[in-house]
Symmetry: C4
Subunit: 201 residues, 4 copies
């Protein structure tokens, strides 16, 4: 995937998520893997309205989430949260990561701060899990402005096969092989948590 293709795909997804109310203000960010060894991610640029991105609004970051020297537009900055994107990509091997302020996920994180335990739901197949007898816990970690702290909390809570992380009083990270899969998993997770909030008192 070229950087231009990545930029277009990220702008399209950001527009979609913005319309869903997941990227209020300039919040949220999306990334897609450009290369391995060394890891390179294309990440949406910081400070922009996510419903109005163009394919230029993208920054290439390294395995620490820092902008690499060679950029199409060196004036664009990655979000600080690019550090967590890079950490998640390194640990999980994900090809794409979406981070949004999805209301149901943050409410669920507040209600179940030790993790959201799910099972016996058809929609769990959308997260790559079983619809029956397969217990899945979506981890919830405390919010922090320090990406190293958040990254360590992510790694401590990470269990292979659970492609999502709720950051308390903040938002959610969801990942997959590519942007399509990450989108689908994010949409399924929102649905699941809306159901869970409505039925688990």
């Amino acid at each position: 995937m070229s950087l231009e293709q990545a930029g277009r795909a990220l702008a399209d997804e950001a527009s979609r998520f913005s319309a869903l109310g997941w990227m209020r203000g300039t919040s949220g960010n999306l990334s897609v893997r450009l290369g391995d060894e060394p890891l390179r991610l294309a990440v949406t640029a910081s400070g922009k309205d996510k419903g109005e991105l163009t394919h230029h609004d993208v920054v290439v970051v390294d395995e620490a989430g820092s902008a690499v020297a060679d950029q199409p537009d060196p004036t664009r900055r990655p979000s600080a949260e690019a550090g967590l994107h890079a950490r998640i990509a390194s640990v999980t091997g994900a090809g794409a990561i979406v981070h949004g302020h999805v209301l149901a996920t943050v409410i669920a994180g507040e209600r179940w701060p030790k993790g959201v335990v799910l099972r016996d739901l058809e929609m769990l197949k959308g997260l790559g899990r079983g619809a029956h007898d397969d217990e899945v816990t979506i981890p919830v970690v405390p919010n922090s402005q320090d990406m190293a702290v958040l990254g360590d909390a992510f790694e401590d809570s990470y269990e292979s096969g659970v492609p999502a992380l709720i950051v308390a009083r903040h938002g959610v990270y969801v990942w997959g092989e590519d942007l399509h899969q990450a989108r689908h998993r994010a949409e399924c997770l929102e649905w699941i948590l809306q159901f869970h909030l409505a039925t688990e008192q």
Copy 2:
């Protein structure tokens, strides 16, 4: 109806339902009857984003929900759930069936697992029933990955004149003479269950 017409109609409806949030991820599937004796249904192809289907994303299945040999594109697979579509079409004579993960229907199925009892609602006319003194029970059956099990549960619970089936912790099937009627019934059922959930404690 030609297969191309069916494909276009299914893609249009899938796009509509996707925008309503009923087909999150790649979930849900729609079918329309192509012929009788032997039964033939056009079913949406599996594994696709339902907001992005084209008229090519369709598979012809038989009375068991299996892909027939003669397909425009033999690489496309029907959803496993095509088996339940075929069963519903056979038993009810429906011309079209929609299956989506409609949140209100699944919440209602969780709250009233023995069936959702409705009466005295104008909107019941949208399901082909009376607005007064006509009690309608929407059946709720346990979820299963085995379409024969789901199909038997459907038949056991089926009552002529009730064009919907809730699959617990999964989604809803709604059917009608054609896609338009199936759509209208699904939209009316969602409204009715939103009302029922808000008013029946």
Copy 3:
């Protein structure tokens, strides 16, 4: 206003209300006054998807809500509910009436079956009322399939200056000088009742 203009305006509003979820299935109907003495209304045709109307999908009715003999397309039928439109137009002098299955209004009718009492809300100005010290009761009448019964219940409950009527377990009628005002009042009433339901336990 010519019948063609009326048809275009009705189709536009129906499309808008359909997108708001107020006209699920083929439910709901809109009317606009074409003439007085004798009263003539253009009413949306029955049995159509309200998001897909064209300016042809309109019927001219008289003061009883019956189709007049001279129609552009004599095959189109008015909704039975045209009788209530005509009654409301006669009694109130309204230039336009909208009827939809607006969820919040029907839930409010169920919670407050003797009428929904409102006061001290800025949004009441959108109904032509005062924002302070002006108590407004939105009447709620039982549902019926007999438009004479519904019409009598409307007249019994009607108070000049209250441009709305909730029909229990059915929907709402809202009227105004023209379609724009009827739309605005319907949108304001929905907002008010959403607020009222959320804050009045």
Copy 4:
């Protein structure tokens, strides 16, 4: 910014907010600063559907919110609420102000009439505040039709660094350096209050 540019920007934002349900009927109004000393604001014209504005539907007002003599179209009137826009612009130095009937903000004002106390939320950064250990109180003032009364209540409750004001049983004012920032803050505030209402019982 020319008046025509201001008119186009205001119409675009009004259309966006209207689609979000924040400007039901003809409610709500937006303003952008045209000049200082003397203060001049471009304000959306009164009595229009906010989803249908053009760049002509704008009025230039002075520091009292009164229309200045020199207008492109002297027949257009500013909303009475332009007085509060002007007061907020004078006191806070804001470059743009949005006022809408945002449901979650009015429900929050009803539940916490002494002010809505917020802290430890990532989304507070969208209001220009800290995500940790930074308590923010969104003031709530009683509704009034007298802009001098509302303006005094605003000034009494105003604390530098809190760019929003809830008017009880009415709506919300949110401001920023420009329309983009005001929009972002309004969207973030709605999200925050939806979260707060769902989690603070």
